[in-house]
Symmetry: C2
Subunit: 339 residues, 2 copies
Amino acid sequence: MKAKITLKDIARELEVSISTVSKALKNSEEISRDTKEKVQAFAKLYNYKPNNIAISLKNKRTKNIGVVIPDIVHHFFTTVIRGIEKYANARGYNVIVCLSEESFDKEVINMEMLANGSIDGFIMSLSSETQEKGDFNHLKEVTEQGIPVVLFDRITNEVDCDKVIIDDELGAYMATKKFIEQGKKKIALITTDDYLSVSKARTSGYRKALEESSLGVDESRILKLPSMEMDEKRIKDFLDSQELDAVLCVNEIFAVYSMGLAQRKGLKIPEDISFIGFTDGLLSKYANPSLTVVSQHGEKMGEVSAKMLIDKVESEEEEETYQTKILEPTLVIRDSIFH
Amino acid sequence: MKAKITLKDIARELEVSISTVSKALKNSEEISRDTKEKVQAFAKLYNYKPNNIAISLKNKRTKNIGVVIPDIVHHFFTTVIRGIEKYANARGYNVIVCLSEESFDKEVINMEMLANGSIDGFIMSLSSETQEKGDFNHLKEVTEQGIPVVLFDRITNEVDCDKVIIDDELGAYMATKKFIEQGKKKIALITTDDYLSVSKARTSGYRKALEESSLGVDESRILKLPSMEMDEKRIKDFLDSQELDAVLCVNEIFAVYSMGLAQRKGLKIPEDISFIGFTDGLLSKYANPSLTVVSQHGEKMGEVSAKMLIDKVESEEEEETYQTKILEPTLVIRDSIFH
DNA sequence: AAGTACAGCGAAAACGGTTTCGTGTTGATA
DNA sequence: TATCAACACGAAACCGTTTTCGCTGTACTT
């Protein structure tokens, strides 16, 4: 086991000072050609690599980004992480992932763990419990300490920071309008309670499209589940309780599950009933029939978030100006609707 | 913006030395009741939290784990991360995730980035390129430096370290046997080239089950794709080229896609043709029909890996003894086969 | 009165770097 | 010959902790 070599080791071996070694390795003008060559050769030979921790302590920069998300098994968050990771890595940053598992307490604990020097900034999507509680003090504390935060997807307006979202209202509006254009009359919405910022916006887009049409909103056609967790019984009861010819769901799991129920009842998709979901995941692509979705462009969202964060981290000025980027959703047409 | 407070700040305010503050906060016997109370009260008031980086530098322990995996969008890896994250967090560790994207170079670069002090140990699954090349020097270097490594799922025997796998051969054997028991005769396998350790083992289990039966292996019923990437054309051509009554696939995507093709040909599942895949993801659960799979217990695998790694990191002894844990796969029976 | 014990605290080194600010040597210049 | 700039390097501070060791003062012992 050959331990890591340090500047001190090189200095001792070559009988020069630590400062000289440090400068030589950085190709400083101050050091003679001769010495530089000697030091660099030695460093290469022993595979010297500076200790990141020491550099972090000195620079007060860790080159780590903290990502705190509710869940990692949902395809959307996975793609966001991938986007963040790719972009961050290209700029020399590492990504520390923490899962809040939709719990307020875990979100707080995770942030506290990371906020004491481990990271240069946060990229987060709020846990449902946090959005429900409306308590954002942990975020405020962090921003007050000067640690930059970028909120994506599940955001709040009560915290001053950069934000990245897709236009969820528009997405739902587009989807609902598509149904209407295709002659669907009884259009349902399976969503979650309004405390989730995204669900609220999507519900609003759904309403808007219906209100603009001659159809109007029928409240009994809206199912609000308490969370994004699958609740097979409630969805089944809801779909069994009435006749529908189109269903919009706030995620792909609800949609694919609903399609299965419809098929078991002998309904033809999309003729008898059409479906559109949110999130363009594997499930949508490989479902049978494949599911039309409102794509949230998770990877793009991750990239944009990472760019905003790193730009802020590396900017010298302490401008307290925050922006909210709104990405456009797109409808990915597949076999669960006419086309 | 109130910046973080340090020991030095407290010392200055309270007119004591830094050492005294440090000790007082740790409730050292050395410090008088009075002073301790004063210091602790002050620290609490100003919400003092020790700087992780400084502590890392001092202790040569970061409480960070580096996880390097080929991909994050595959359900299996996602669940493993979740298992790692949960367990590691409970023991006070953070998880730094890096994606190799199946590239040897990225794997090397990521490891190098992390190996210079950022982490206490690695949990990894090899990229396909690494397994194909058979070059494991980056792993060897790291272990030689005394950094513990745990390899999971995609492993190699050329590196001395702890390993966690499921019994892939057994999993494929169980699945194939199930087909045979259900009277299937023409059983195909869709897999990848043997350089992927898991595919090799699975192919071997498939062969074993067939050889044990009266059926025997028909090489034309084995499709070896170059990677885990979806190749719709080759799968379609393969399935179109012959008559089959059962298909085992090394992942759920291949299986679900294949089911779709069969259905479009008018075949009934599972009567005319049955399917089993690997990986118990959302896709399997919500596919139509739902897919029977060999579950790899990703979350468990993550937990076990994290436990092995952290135990090693925290153990004092430098015992160079490594173990390989083999988890049992289980067959999750769903509608794509008889039951 | 001298010695001892101990409580309570601070100085300083250490972790591994970076960076500022000298300082001694050399050769050229006036 | 005295002056000076340039060159090449080292000492030391610093980032924020922890920890060892030594010092001071008080109280107690004999």
